[in-house]
Each structure stands twice: as C-alpha cells, then as structure tokens.
C-alpha cells in the first residue's frame, strides 16, 4: 500500500500501571480525513501524541510517510517537520508576535529566508482570515483567532499531515464556526488530517472515516453515515446517544 500515510500496528502505551492504549491498529490513507471520537479518557489524545512522539510508545509500530516514528533512532525533529499539530489550548508562543509565531520554525530550520517566511506568513494569515493581525501579540487575540493563527503556524512548515486535538473545545460557541471553516477548506485542498473532536456536524460533513475509541482500543470504524446512523457496537451506541442528547 503505497498511499498509506499513517500505519499504526498494535500500539501500546502505559503511564506506570495505567494501560492507556491497549493495542491500537490505525491506518490513514493519503488525503484522507479521519475523525477520532470516543469517551473521555479513552486514549484519543494519547494516540495522537504518539503519532509525533510527544509521547513515546511503550510498544508497537508507528509508520508515517515511510518513517518509523516508534524507532528511537529515527530523527524525530526531521519527522515532525512534516507532521503539523494543533492543540486544544492553541499554545501560541507568548513572547512572539503573530507573524513571528508563523515565521519561527521555517526560518530556524533553514526552510525559508526571513523575507520569504514573512511573505508566507502574510499569505497564511490571509487564508485564515487574519491578515490584519500580523504584528499583534497573541494575548490580544480571541480564542478563535488564536486557534486560526495556530493552524497557520503549523501549515508554515508545509506538512503532509495535520493532527488536531479538540481544536474547538476551548472556544466560545460563536468562534467555533470560523475555525471549522478553515479546517474544511484545508480538507478540501486535500490535506491528510486526523481530528479528535466532538463536533459531529463537522465529522458528518468532512470526514472520510470515523474511528470510535473506547478503553484504549479502536472499537468501531467506518464511513460517517454508517457509524453515526447504524452503530454496530453497544458502546458506540451509548456514546452517540449521550453526545447527541447533550
């Protein structure tokens, strides 16, 4: 399978005695958008963070773009340049302006000159609808604006794949739409994406596949209509009932 972007086999992760991932198999194809859902504590964030080794796996294999992420000898800094990540709490660099946030990695890693990076930064900001915020400090932005800057910052490294960990959960409801809009556009442009989210509407509209995790395992997966409308597993059903009732 040459067009496989992510190939995770039998991934296990323990935090001490806490077995958080208990043998996860997880694949993502090129240009595919996968939405990861599941109850709190089921291990969604942990799986995502293993993909760029913010957490190092206890055992199992993780291949991304042909690189063995789970191998400690792999140059992880190099691998991460192609894996963008967007966090629930944005994590914009507070000591830098919006523009510098976006320019930092490409310049420091020798991808672009300072001028090129600035040009690219302005273009990316325009794409997320914030071209006037180039010189602003992160503290002066709203949550929704911060998250769009964070997406622009991740895109500045021209990654092949983007990981989103609940990108809208920390936002006021009226901000959620703007961020989802940016993500939809990204999906349409063919970005490979793994998204942890409770936004079922987004999942239905954009996802190629929905993966349901519970208790450290992938319990069910399939096309959105199939998982949402005809869940096979009882736990999937119970979870969806709860989420939709809320």
């Amino acid at each position: 399978m040459t067009n496989l972007k992510v190939d995770v086999t039998n991934l296990k992760k323990n935090f001490g005695d806490n077995h958080v991932l208990k043998g996860v198999n997880f694949k993502v194809a090129d240009n595919e958008v996968v939405v990861l859902i599941g109850p709190s504590g089921s291990g969604k964030s942990t799986l995502l963070r293993c993909l760029n080794r913010l957490e190092s796996p206890t055992s199992g294999k993780i291949i991304i773009d042909g690189r063995d992420i789970s191998d400690p000898k792999t140059d992880i800094d190099l691998a991460r340049q192609n894996i963008g990540m967007v966090f629930q709490h944005f994590n914009l660099f507070n000591n830098l302006t919006v523009g510098e946030n976006i320019e930092l990695a490409p310049v420091e890693l020798g991808k672009l000159s300072k001028e090129e990076a600035a040009q690219q930064g302005k273009k990316l900001l325009k794409a997320v609808g914030l071209e006037d915020k180039f010189s602003a400090m992160p503290q002066s932005l709203s949550g929704g604006q911060k998250q769009r800057v964070a997406i622009a910052r991740a895109l500045a490294m021209k990654p092949d794949i983007m990981l989103f960990d609940e990108p809208t959960s920390a936002l006021d409801p009226e901000m959620v739409g703007d961020v989802l809009e940016v993500m939809k556009k990204l999906a349409k442009e063919g970005m490979t994406m793994v998204v942890v989210t409770h936004e079922m509407g987004f999942a239905k509209e954009v996802a190629d596949r929905v993966v349901f995790m519970a208790d450290g395992k992938v319990v069910e997966e399939g096309q959105p209509e199939q998982v949402f409308d005809h869940p096979q597993n009882v736990r999937t059903k119970a979870f969806l009932d709860k989420v939709i009732n809320v």
Binding site: L78, G84, N91, N95, L96, L104, L109
Partner: protein
Amino acid sequence: MKKHFVALCLLFAAFFAVLVGKQSQVQAKTYTIGTDVTFPPFVYANSHNKYVGIDMELIRTIAKTEGFKIKIKPVGFNAAVQGVSSGQFDGIISGMTITKEREKTFQFSTPYYESGIVMAVAPKSNIKSLKDLKGKRVAVKTGTQGATYANSLKKKYGFKTVTFDDSDNMYNDVKTGNSAACFDDSAVLNYGVRTGLGLKIVTKPADIGKYGFAVKRGHNQKLMKMFNAGLAKLKKNGKYEQIIKKYTGQSATSAKKKANEKKDDASNTFAGLIKENYQAILTGLLETIKLTVVSIICATIFGILVGLLGVIPNKFSQGLSTTIIYIFRGLPLLVLALFIYNGVPSLTGSKIPAFVAGIITLTLNEGAYTAAFVKGGIDAVDSGQMEAARSLGLSFGKAMRKVVLPQGIKIMIPSFINQFIITLKDTSILSIIGILELTQTGKIIIARNLQGFRVWTIIAVIYLVIITILTLLSKWIERRIND
C-alpha cells in the same frame, strides 16, 4: 546547544584555573604570616592602617636581619590558626601562648614574651574576684588562652561564658553590662586600660604563659630556624628591649592615651572618623565591590548552567542539578567559606588565596540559589509552549532558546535582582577568612579606636548606598529587557 554548554563549562573552569594559578605564583617567594590585628599592643592597625605592635615589629625586624620576605595576613586569630594548620599560611605570630595542646599541631619558636591572664570588669562594677562571678556571664574571645582559662574555671565558680570573635566585641559586652567580666591577656588588657579602654583589672596575672611564633609541625623548618636566630640576635643587641619598651613603656602608652584623648574630638564626629579612616574604608569598599561583581558574574553563569542542567530531559543531568542545588543551598555560607579556605587546602596540599576562596564560596552558594529559580522560572512556563515548538520540528535547544527561555527570564528577573543584593550582603561573611572587605575593615578600625557605634553606622550607610545603586542599575536593565 550541547556544544555551547560544554564550551561554557570549559571557559568557566579555565577562568578559575587562571585565577588560582596566577595568585599562587605571586606568593611563592615570600612567607605568609597570619595574625589578628585586633590585639594591641602585640598586633594592631595604626591610624594609617599599617599593622604595628610588638609582634609585627619583631617579625619585620627579624625578616630584615635574616633576609627573608613576609606578607602579613590580618585574618583574625581563629582563621590564622586554621590557616597555618591547613597550610594556607607559613606561620602565625599573634600573641599566641605556647600550650601542650597546640604543640601537637604547631612547632613554637623560643618564647618572645611572657604574660598571664587577668580579669577585667566595668569601672563601676563591684566584682573583685573570681568568687563574685557566681551565676554571671563572662565574655571571652574564641581560641584564646583567656577563653581556655575561663572555661577551666567556670564549673568551680559557677559562671557562664559567652564567646566573641574579636576583642572589641568582648570588651563592649562588659562595658554595656551584658557580661560581668572578661578574661584576656594581661599585657593586652594593661595596654588597653592605660590607653583608655574603659575597663579595670581586678586580678593578678594567673596561668602565666609564654608567647611564641609558630609554624605547622614538621613544616617551614627553615623559617623557624631563621626566626629563632633573629630573635637571639635582637635580644643580644638590645633591639628587643627597645621594641618592648616602645609598645608597653610608660611613655608609649601615655602618648597613645593622649593621642586618643586628643583624637576624641575628631573621632567623636562622623566627619572626623571618615576623614581619619577614609583610605582604609575606600580600600575595603573597593574590595567589597570587586568581590560582589566577580561573584555575581560567576554565580549567574554557574547558576544558569546548573539550572538548565535541571530542565534537560535526562535523568542524570537532572539528578546532578538537584544534588548541586541541595548541597550548596543547604550549607551555611560561613561553613562553606571555611571549608573551601581551610578544609580543601589541608586535603589537597595546595593553597587557595582568600579572594579566590571567597569567589568560589559565593559562586557555589549564590549559584545554587540562582539555579533553583532558573529551574523554577523555566518550569513556570506552560509546558504547552515547549510541546508546540517541538511539534514544529525545533530541537530541544532551539525551542528552549527561542520560546521557553525568553518567557522564563521575564519570570526570573525579580529573583535575579534579589540575588544580586543578597550576594553583595553576603560578601561581608567573607571577613571570616580574612578578606579585607568593608566589614573586616570596620572591625579593624574599631579595634584601634573603639568607636563601635559610629564606625558601624558609617559601614551600614555605605552598604545601603551601594545596594541602592545596585538596585537602580538592575531595575534599569529590567526595563530594557522588558521593552
């Protein structure tokens, strides 16, 4: 990042090596002699801040006739004794009584003076003999024969002793009435009383002892031979008598008393005191500033390195950092200073100049505090900042330098300013190893003129002034960093 780190460490080590190497080379040719300059008429500083007295005149004259050079280290009696036994100094001449106990460690010259221990009380006190001391407090000076004598009698006569580091504080405690009496060398007290010390002697000399020049047993044999030969010559040709007369004779003491009384007008005013001791205070102040500046630089570099070691994701380096902080923050500064100055040389056999020992002491101690808040400052930066930077592909070092440190430093700045001020104040503790900084200078001036209150006021004001300057400077730098 790693490369820079190693380079910095090397630079740091080299800096110390140069400091140590340079200073010990300079001292190789002359004999260093430890003494206590608060012990007139044997050793004291005159109004030109030159060290004079029987002991000083003797050793200088002998050095001249026997053809060797000396360097006087006015470190206080305790530090001088320890300094000789640890090999920091070659000899000690400081009104030191020859005892069996001391002969285990030291080798003494032919005695050059005979003296006993007497008790002195405040002028209006009605204490007349040892019997009157029951239940009272008695002041003594650490490590002196007077202290040994007092301690041997305290059970029998039922008094308590309180120990001081120098004579002036001991006398003052008696004058203020905190202590009922003090025990000291008869020659010293006689001299003091006759020159207007303001105490009276109530006992006959007891526990007669002989004073000798001392070297460490088995060391500096040549120096000892020369001293004995020189002393014999001086006794023969009458110079010895002259020197003793010069400092204890009626004419000497009454002249000094007159001088003291005349000077009282001048010494009674702050302006007079400053004018009189201007040179000495300035030299002390300069030494304090030198100590402060060098230690702040060294401690800051050392502290940042150790602090960074503590945040690198590596168990060994974190453990190392924690251990360094634990040890050097835990040790009292005084103990650390004495350990480095006296303890380490007796182990390794090589001398450390007091200034260098002082810098190392402050670097380790203040550096440990610095390391702790550097670590704390970095830890206080949200871990999401590091994660976001790493997720973009930046290395740990780059993420640290570009994202985490700039935020951490802002958190640390107030702690840095605070630490600078503490460092300045802590230099005063280094007077214990005899560095002639501001505090030690104050002690020496007071030993001569007994103007404790005024001199300490002047010294305190000087400290406040430089602390204010240091604070303003730091605040200015803080503003520039924050902009």
